[in-house]
């Protein structure tokens, strides 16, 4: 049995800071928010994916893992131990979906999309990328954006186009996304519209 990677150094303050970053990220779509955690989770889980899971998941909020994480040894055990959350195979039951490989397509329509009466009962997708910037790229509009906001993610997550299409079709149901690069995250709530590419 291998030793389990450690959790938050200060669970109360660290969880608050990660939440704060996620809150600001979703409140100001496309605008990168700093996020540091000091976590060293089993690869290919990134410290940012782990931080968001540890801060927000628990036995009332199950986690779905993408094939890259599901196949990795220790990823599920790390999450179960530190969060108490169930790791589920059915994406429709997941409160959070952790995606370590942004290059793969995702079963977008199988995640929980919420219902017309309870649109909040939907999965939040957390997708690891290598870099995030707001200097150029896609132009975003919608609640949380004063006028327009640009966003560039590298690599550009394969599933994002499907998610955006789905969200505009089923709103107020839909999927909310956090993109997580080393040291920063960006939020893309379902209310955000992708306007054009610069």
């Amino acid at each position: 049995m291998t030793a389990l990677a450690h959790g938050f150094g200060d669970p109360v303050t660290d969880a608050q800071q990660v939440f704060h970053a996620a809150m600001n990220a979703l409140a100001r779509p496309g605008r990168p928010q700093p996020l540091t955690s000091g976590l060293e989770p089993p690869r290919p889980m990134t410290p940012e994916l782990a931080a968001i899971a540890l801060a927000l998941a628990d036995h009332e909020a199950p986690i779905w893992l993408d094939p890259a994480l599901a196949a990795a040894s220790g990823a599920a055990d790390f999450l179960r131990f530190h969060t108490g959350a169930a790791v589920v195979a059915d994406p429709g039951r997941a409160a959070f979906a952790l995606i370590a490989d942004p290059g793969m397509p995702l079963p977008v329509e199988q995640f929980a999309l919420g219902t017309a009466e309870f649109p909040d009962r939907s999965t939040t997708l957390v997708i690891a990328v290598e870099d995030l910037s707001d200097t150029n790229g896609w132009v975003l509009r919608g609640p949380g954006i004063a006028d327009r906001q640009s966003l560039l993610a590298a690599p550009w997550p394969h599933a994002l186009a499907d998610i955006v299409r789905l969200n505009s079709a089923v709103f107020p149901r839909g999927l909310d996304v956090l993109l997580a690069a080393p040291g920063r995250i960006v939020g893309l709530p379902r209310s955000t519209r992708f306007v054009e590419e610069i």
Partner: protein, 307 residues
């Protein structure tokens, strides 16, 4: 049995940082994230019993406790004022359980918890305003059933609300709603702004700060992200209008702000003073002087407050 797994325990209390246990905070934080993602939609949450009564700000307190970090600076107002008893009590609660810095200055605060007012000074990007909400459902008094109102929201079927407002006009010549005046958020959900006077409604539109709403007894959290369209419901022939006051503030001479009417005696004597006490004090510090400043009791000028 009371021991929590907290490593960050505020001094004096034996409770976790900001009172709530971490599991409760996670549950509320998840609700807040969904509330932000669907602006104006009321997210049900498992509101906890708080050590203050339902109806006295338990929803706002739970939201504040869940977002607060050790570096935050907290301001609490009730009816616009920092030194009304309930505002003092809630501020004291967070001082004790979270040890955070508190302030009465709107500009200094990172988190502002409020009951019934929005500060006169516009909020900035680094600020979050948390509203205490008694009845979150704007359709509740038209349709008492949750199962029905939920359906109406799902279908965006808001005809009932327009009919009600129009009936007001037919009967009174005015829309007779003066506070908790319904708004449409981001073109989709009709939302109750909490019992703020409609005077404050325009401040919600495209506000730079994040607006969070907590209803503890009714177990709902909702949000308006920064820079979001907030439209007060109205009609072409009866456009939305805010209250106007014919006098400036008697203490600081401010105009275009919301005023409290203070009855001075039983012979009809009254004065009008700023409801936002911080804004009023700052103006007086800057040298603005209202007509009745000299002969106003000290308590009314905020000089007896112990903050």
């Amino acid at each position: 049995m009371t021991a929590q797994s907290a490593t960050h325990t505020a001094p004096e209390t034996g409770y976790n940082f900001a009172y709530l246990d971490e599991q409760t905070k996670r549950m509320i934080r998840r609700a807040i994230l969904k509330a932000i993602a669907v602006p104006g939609y009321q997210v049900p949450f498992a509101s906890r019993e708080m050590p203050m009564p339902y109806g006295w700000g338990t929803g706002g307190v739970q939201v504040t406790a869940s977002i607060l970090g050790p570096d935050d600076v907290l301001k609490v107002i009730d009816q616009g004022s920092d030194d009304t008893t309930n505002a003092v009590s809630i501020r004291k609660f967070f001082k004790r359980t979270a040890g955070v810095r508190t302030t009465t200055r709107t500009g200094e605060a990172t988190v502002i918890q409020t009951r019934h007012r929005i500060p006169e000074q516009p909020l900035g990007e680094g600020q979050v305003i948390v509203y205490q909400v008694p009845i979150p459902e704007p359709l509740r008094f038209l349709e008492p059933r949750e199962t029905e109102t939920r359906k109406l929201h799902a279908l965006a079927e808001y005809g009932l609300m327009h009919v009600k407002l129009y009936e007001d006009i037919a009967r009174h010549g005015h829309i007779a709603t003066t506070y908790a005046y319904p708004v449409e958020v981001a073109g989709r959900y009709i939302m109750d702004p909490s019992p703020t006077p409609k005077f404050d409604n325009p401040k919600m539109h495209m506000m730079a700060g994040l607006q969070l709403f907590g209803a503890g007894r009714e177990k709902r959290i909702y949000a308006i992200p920064p820079y979001t369209q907030v439209r007060s419901l109205d009609f072409e022939d009866h456009p939305f209008r805010i209250q106007t006051f014919s006098h400036p503030c008697a203490l600081c001479a401010a105009e275009g702000v919301y005023l409290d009417e203070v009855v001075m005696d039983d012979r009809g004597g009254r004065m009008f003073v700023c409801s936002d006490t911080d804004s009023c004090e700052e103006r007086r510090e800057q040298g603005h002087r209202g007509a009745m400043l000299a002969d106003t009791p000290a308590a009314l000028k905020g000089e007896s407050s112990h903050v």
